[in-house]
Amino acid sequence: MNPVGIILLVALGLVVVAAFLSLYRLLVGPTALDRVVSLDVLAATVIVIIGVLIVLEPRVDLVALMIVFVLTQFFSTVTVARFMAGSSRNRSNRPLNVRGQYRTSNAGTERPQVTEDASEGAPETPGTDTAGGAR
């Protein structure tokens, strides 16, 4: 085989490894937001696979798939971020720590607790909560 084919096959192998790594994070990611980040990387690996296939097989028609993937890749991130805002705190009444585990104590946290949020007035929906961020 000549160098171009070998190099592209190696690239395909690297990207498949990357896809499995992000699948692992998708499985174990402690919060839904971690899973969304890994889905983003998974979509990127799919784009790279499509790019390699475009060149390796002459599948020029796959370019439409590539453009559609790049266009729609951020929809999942935006949707989940919009509807998940505040949900992991509200569901348990306990804030999470940085690793996504429940805090055992409130030492060192200066964030307002859920009871204070509820006393502010009408309950906000997650959507308006996220959209009104530019204050």
Binding site: P3, V17, Q73, V78
Partner: protein, 124 residues
């Protein structure tokens, strides 16, 4: 079946020029950066560093991949397509990251004690 595939790839890449090899190496680098992004997502400890690891190598990998495709295809139509893909990604990726970071802050996943400026903090 493997032999058939190898023969097909051989026929396809027969008579590779320097530009072909350079394009293939660029695509390999793009795949490598995607692997770096996945490694960062697996290895780093919290959500914000995972987002950091996912965003930058991913975009750089896509840039390298599109440059490789351009060098391998060598026509103006492909230059247009690759620039379109890159433009879409450059516009769309920060939107998702921005909303994700804000959602994570609202979920209390950020360590606000370590921040110098906290622009999302509730007004007193």
């Amino acid at each position: 079946m493997v032999k058939e595939f190898v023969a097909r790839v051989d026929a396809l890449t027969a008579g590779a020029t320097v530009l072909d090899v350079v394009g293939a190496v660029l695509m390999l680098l793009g795949a490598g950066f995607t692997l770096v992004a996945a490694l960062g997502v697996v290895r780093l400890p919290d959500l914000f560093s995972r987002m950091h690891a996912a965003a930058k190598p991913q975009l750089l990998g896509l840039v390298l991949l599109c440059s490789g495709i351009m060098l391998l295809m060598r026509s103006w139509a492909w230059v247009g397509i690759c620039v379109l893909v890159l433009a879409i990604q450059v516009v769309a990726a920060p939107v998702g990251s921005h909303m994700l970071g804000r959602a994570a802050y609202r979920d209390g996943l950020a360590e606000t004690a370590t921040l110098t400026i906290d622009e999302l903090a509730e007004p007193e």
